[in-house]
């Protein structure tokens, strides 16, 4: 079996890592590995050899990679030190009991799948309301059952990147969604992550989601992340998405984590021929937020749309990093990301488009626009095109600036005082960003979150 040889390689790596002198291991890395050791027996599916090996592979990969620093090219503009220096513990209390739900949770008009501190809560979820053709299972339950089919779907568990490996070695739960619903069924699901964020111990949780949309099927997945309290925590979520031929998926995410939280999200999307993945992320919360999307276009004519908005205020840091790999001919990728930054907030946009030699007739487009509302706010933008095919159309652009003087004058010439005119244009920039979300209900949910951010940023500007 091909996978067994891979496992052997990884086992060797574990030994390599173990012989490294202990002094070279960063205390934060050592602490995370110790948590893995301590928790391993309690993690779901531990009694199955292949699951244990998978986690050990991940631990070895994490030990090798460590936490990133700004010396890592991918993390040059985002310093994760504050996250690395916080000592988190994984939740140890039982995954049941009453939960105080945070206020202002959006109604997406879709059955909710509830996660609390990284654990699936069927008792709080609306499983009975799931649409036909959408199967939802708990990752923990599948691991516990030792479902071998899962080993194929957890493809990148032992990925070399730090936070994915950290997730793989510590992930306790997640949701496994399999969709076979036809496009006209309009299947939609709302995945909710709640951080209790209470008590005095910062928690870390590592949700691992697996989503498959079968050939010709269609799914709308709305994800929102909220907190019920204000204790710092770390939400390190990984999602692996597979779209079959001509499958479609709309993936709209609202990141409304607590303002003191740390959040790293990594999404891997694999698209077969003619598949379409349409993603939007609104980053409105967290002290440090990193949203990574890796999309691979693996079949002819696949289409990916990655859009989003990042809202900064105070000293918050928001990072969007995308890697789009065109590995098949005649695929299209479209990205538009907008950032609005007030106070001393910072945003990062790194967008890489990688076009393989076989990917002729690639159509790639990337746009990054930022509105800086204060002299102390900052954006770092790094577009990267790596093209090995000769018949492609790829472009990228970036605009960074203040409000448009023409637009401001136009509003003022109609009697609207300058402060109001500015507010209108900022709200308009946000509204325009949300235009990429075609579903009106989801757009309205995101608009509410931007309004909350604007109230904060506005108060900050007035202070």
């Amino acid at each position: 079996m091909a996978s067994s040889s891979r496992r052997r390689e990884m086992t060797t790596a574990v030994i390599d890592a173990a012989v490294q002198p202990a002094a070279l291991v960063h205390p934060a890395v050592a602490a995370a590995l110790a948590r893995h050791e301590a928790l391993a027996k309690r993690l779901p599916g531990h009694r199955h050899g292949w699951i244990r090996e998978m986690r050990e592979d991940a631990a070895a990969a994490f030990a090798r990679a460590g936490f990133p620093t700004r010396r890592n090219e991918e993390w040059h503009y985002t310093d994760p030190r504050a996250l690395v220096d916080t000592r988190f513990g994984e939740p140890i209390v039982a995954a049941d009991g009453a939960v105080t739900l945070p206020g202002g949770m959006p109604d997406a008009g879709a059955p909710k799948l509830m996660f609390v501190d990284g654990r699936f809560r069927p008792d709080l979820s609306e499983l009975a309301a799931l649409p036909d053709g959408v199967r939802v299972e708990s990752l923990a339950a599948l691991l516990e059952a030792g479902d071998e089919a899962l080993s194929l779907r957890l493809g990148s568990l032992a990925d070399r990147s730090s936070f994915v490996a950290l997730n793989a070695m510590l992930a306790e739960d997640g949701v496994v969604i399999t969709c076979t619903a036809a496009p006209d069924a309009g299947a939609r699901v709302h995945l909710v992550s709640i951080a209790t964020a209470s008590g005095d111990r910062p928690l870390a949780f590592h949700q691992r989601h697996v989503v498959s949309v079968a050939e010709g099927a269609s799914l709308a997945l709305f994800e929102s992340a909220h907190a019920a309290g204000a204790t710092p925590y770390f939400n390190n979520t990984v999602a692996e998405i597979t779209l079959g031929a001509r499958a479609r998926m709309t993936h709209v995410r609202l990141q409304a984590e607590a303002l003191g939280a740390f959040q790293v999200s990594t999404v891997f999307a694999h698209l077969a021929a003619g598949a379409e993945y349409d993603s939007f992320v609104l980053a409105a919360g967290a002290r440090l937020a990193r949203n990574e999307v890796h999309a691979r276009l693996e079949g002819t004519g696949a289409i990916v749309h990655l859009n989003g908005a990042q809202l900064g205020d105070g000293v918050r840091h928001v990072d969007t990093t995308t890697v789009i790999t065109h590995a098949a001919p005649a695929c299209a990728s479209r990205q538009t990301f907008k950032s609005v930054l007030s106070g001393r907030s910072r945003a990062v946009f790194q967008g890489k488009i990688h076009v393989h030699q076989v990917a002729q007739k690639t159509d790639g487009y990337q746009m990054n626009q930022a509105l800086l509302l204060s002299p102390e706010s900052e954006i770092d933008a790094k577009p990267q095109l790596e093209i090995y095919a000769d018949d492609v159309k790829c472009s990228h652009g970036a605009t960074v600036g203040e409000l448009d003087a023409n637009q401001l004058f136009y509003l003022r010439s109609r009697g609207i005082p300058a402060p109001e005119a500015r507010a209108m244009l900022i709200e308009a920039f946000l509204a325009d960003a949300l235009e990429a979300v075609r579903d009106e209900r989801l757009r309205a949910a995101l608009a509410d979150a931007t309004a909350l951010w604007w109230a904060r940023a506005h108060a900050e500007a007035g202070a």
């Binding site: 023409n406 010439s413 109609r414 009697g415």
Partner: protein
């Protein structure tokens, strides 16, 4: 010559753009109830005059004065000029992605009403008012839902300018090349909209390159702007004469 009863009285107005003199001493007065046309070739300073009157940044007044309804216009912020009753219909209306047209119109109207000490209109009152105005201009209500000027055709943009004018009911309108980019049907609709606003209490300054528009909005006076100065003034027949002979003769004389 400026007279005390003029609604808009411009005296010796000089202005620079990027430190380059564009207006070189303009004298012009428009009494209430009159429509004056400013005609001139490209680069004569027509649009600059419109922008200087409305207070756009980057247009520096270096001399002269402008009195509007007895107030020093040049000392006012753009929004205060609007509240005082001045309106500029833009040659190139600005697109505002993300700003809904209805919201824009209502915010503008209520801002002006607030400054005038009048009660603001609620959403229903506003809708009733704007629907009536749109009907006159042959505009579909669907345009209220769209973002301001985004994806509008040239004619729709100009109609939208006139709609703003009709909603705000300014005392004085400056129309900057309102005819440019319009086909003859759109031109008639826009001109009808403007003519509907003519009245004894309202003054207008119609800036245009061509006589075409003036066949529909017949002015009381026509002024020719050339090289930053008004070189000739006359009645509506002057527009026809210019149409026939062009600006060449005047340019040679100037």
């Amino acid at each position: 010559m400026a007279t005390s009863e003029a609604m808009l009285a411009i005296e010796g107005l000089a202005a620079t753009v990027d430190e380059k003199p564009v207006l070189k001493g303009i004298d012009l007065s428009v009494p209430a109830g009159e429509v004056h046309a400013i005609m001139g070739p490209n680069g004569s300073g027509k649009s600059t005059l419109g922008y200087v009157l409305s207070g756009r940044e980057g247009y520096d007044v270096t001399g002269g004065s402008v009195s509007f309804r007895g107030q020093d216009l040049l000392a006012m912020e753009p929004e205060d000029r609007a509240a005082a009753g001045l309106f500029l219909a833009f040659q190139y209306p600005v697109e505002l992605p993300g700003v809904g047209n209805a919201n824009f119109l209502r915010q503008a109207l209520n801002a002006v009403r607030r400054k005038r000490g009048e009660a603001e209109l609620d959403a229903m009152q506003f809708l009733k008012l704007v629907r009536a105005k749109m009907k006159v201009l042959g505009m579909s209500e669907e345009m209220l839902k769209r973002f301001v000027n985004v994806g509008f055709s040239g004619g729709e943009k100009k109609r939208n300018e006139i709609l703003q004018m009709a909603v705000l009911e300014p005392a004085f309108c400056v129309l900057d090349e309102t005819d440019s980019g319009l086909d003859i049907d759109a031109l008639k609709i826009v001109a009808d909209g403007v003519n509907a606003l003519r009245g004894p209490e309202r003054g207008m300054l119609v800036i245009t390159h061509y006589q075409r528009l003036l066949a529909y909005i017949v002015p009381d006076r026509v002024h020719v702007l050339l090289g930053g100065r008004i070189v000739r003034s006359g009645g509506p027949e002057l527009a026809l004469e210019l149409e026939e002979k062009g600006y060449g003769e005047l340019q040679q004389a100037a």
